[in-house]
């Protein structure tokens, strides 16, 4: 008979409503993402109430499309995996509530997945050879973590941001120079036209905690630079500023990742999260890993952004490990990595 395990993944933690079906964790049969970016662009960032309402509208169409694109029915599904945190609580609740109702009515096991665990698992989707242990840099709009992936679903956090996430700094700087939302891809593009050595921004570090990050100082330095130039009546070259800011972020991310690879002697290192699709970061990390003799892994951009294939993949390993969510599963907006 058929020993394949099919997981239906559901993700609604921020501004993408997503559903996916994976076979045996790593084979993506469908990956449906309904993005709300155009809706939130009007407001210069994600509006939680608008995001939550859109999720309610899209959740069923997206799930149905994921099933039909995978050419399976709910009956074929072995378990439902859903993101329960971290994220926007109102947004998370839509996916969690729908997944609970669905799993209950279809009599399928439900698995709760940590969003960051999902981002890390995105690397498994296209790299059959990647297995724990390995080091991983998780960078997104809400997270900046250096972690050691000890086993599937088992993490040790080595460093984290003390204030803004890297992606948050991208969004804020993009807004300040009028590029708008979402900041990451827009700065990436603008930076290609600029000189990254034009402006020297401070490299943020945290006293006494080498592997921690701080991006609010860098963000303030950029805003101060803009204010100062404005008061002096000087014109700012946006491309140079974008390139210099991006370099400051990429340098600090790469430097700390490289130090960790050296210290722990990792043979494998991965990046994950929305900012992992930044072209400059990918290049810089690829180069650093090559120099240190570690194999570099990164997901395709489609799996860097919030998606449900990564949730289904992480959910698969949770499912194999026997994890099952109860009927009272709640959304946990600030759940830490490695906590349950």
């Amino acid at each position: 008979m058929n020993d394949d395990i099919l997981i239906l993944g559901i993700e609604s933690s921020c501004d993408e409503t997503a559903a996916s079906v994976t076979r045996n964790g790593r084979e993506v049969l469908s990956n449906i993402i309904s993005s709300q970016i155009p809706l939130h662009t009007l407001y210069g960032g994600v509006v939680p109430e608008i995001a939550s309402r859109k999720h309610v509208e899209k959740i069923v169409p997206v799930i149905r499309e994921a099933l039909s694109a995978a050419e399976v029915t709910l009956q074929d599904i072995d378990a439902v995996a859903v993101t329960y945190g971290p994220g926007l609580v109102g947004a998370l609740l839509v996916g969690v509530s729908a997944a609970k109702g669905l799993a209950y009515a279809a009599k399928k096991p439900l698995v709760a997945v940590h969003h960051i665990e999902g981002h890390v698992a995105a690397n498994y989707l296209e790299h059959p050879d990647l297995e724990p242990p390995f080091g991983c840099l998780v960078v997104s709009g809400g997270h900046t973590h250096l972690v050691e992936v000890m086993d599937y679903g088992k993490f040790s956090i080595i460093g984290r941001t003390r204030d803004d996430a890297a992606g948050e700094a991208f969004d804020k700087v993009a807004r300040a120079i009028g590029l708008g939302y979402p900041g990451g891809p827009k700065i990436d593009k603008k930076a290609k036209e600029g000189d990254s050595s034009a402006i020297s921004f401070p490299k943020a570090s945290v006293d006494g905690a080498f592997y921690d990050f701080s991006f609010s100082g860098l963000k303030s330095a950029v805003l101060n630079y803009l204010n100062h130039a404005k008061m002096q009546g000087q014109e700012v070259n946006d491309a140079d500023l974008a390139a210099s800011f991006q370099k400051a972020v990429v340098d600090v991310l790469t430097e700390k990742s490289a130090a960790l690879i050296r210290e722990r002697g990792y043979k494998k290192f991965a990046i994950a999260g929305g900012v992992a699709s930044n072209s400059s970061l990918r290049m810089s990390m690829q180069e650093a890993c090559g120099r240190l003799g570690a194999k570099f892994y990164s997901p395709s951009p489609i799996y860097c952004t919030d998606n449900a294939a990564m949730i289904a993949c992480a959910g698969y390993y949770e499912y194999l490990g026997g994890a099952r969510a109860e009927l009272n599963l709640n959304a946990v907006p600030n759940v830490k990595l490695g906590e349950r």
Binding site: L42, Y43, V47, E49, I50, S52, R53, H55, V56, E57, I59, V60, P61, I63, R64, L74, V89, G90, L93, V94, G95, V96, S97, A98, A99, K100, G101, L102, A103, Y104, A105, A106, K107, L327, N328, L329, N330, A331
Partner: protein, 237 residues
Amino acid sequence: MLILGIESASLTASAALLSDDTLIAEYTTNFKKTHSETLLPMIDEIFRMTGKDVSELSAVAVSQGPGSFTGLRIGASLAKGLALPSDLPIIPVPTIDAIAYGAFGADAVICPLMDARRMEVYSGLYSFDGERFIVHEGACARPLPEQIAAAEALAEKLGKPVLYLGDGLPVFIDEIRRLMRCPSLFAPAHTRCQRGGAVAALGAKLYSEGVFESCLTFQPLYLRKSQAEQERERKGL
């Protein structure tokens, strides 16, 4: 015909099973705990208690709103998930209507009150003509004094007292007493708050009149736009 009624529009979380014309189970809690944690365990409990199975459901009736945006979304999303595997009909039951329907037979102008914050109430005006349920004014959001005036104007016209109920009643009762100018009644605790049973019963009535949607089309009735949209409109954008 087995209908599951779900109520999560405000502080009350309630689930009920209506088998044909019999309310076979109802489970209501009315204290602060997230509906996300309570609602599905309550539904599971009433299925187990009655020996019924979720696969026997004919439709899901949901308290559609207005109410707490988050509460409405929990109920709506849960209902959509429950309805999806068998593509069950979802019956949209206006929350205010369901509260009023719970006062069946009252010889009064029925004025449900929910706290809508920002100095407003979610309310509406209803009455019964014998068994006939009359919606004089469906769900609205307005300041309490305006709603009292509207209720009293209708009460004078119909020659009936006003019956106030809803989970906003404890919040507003003092102000109503101060402002009221015609005979007014205040519902006691057990008939005051939202009930899954009323949602299921009114849902069955609506379903028989052909009012139902699918898990694809059903949406909560927010009555208000998001704060961000309101501000944008105020700025004329």
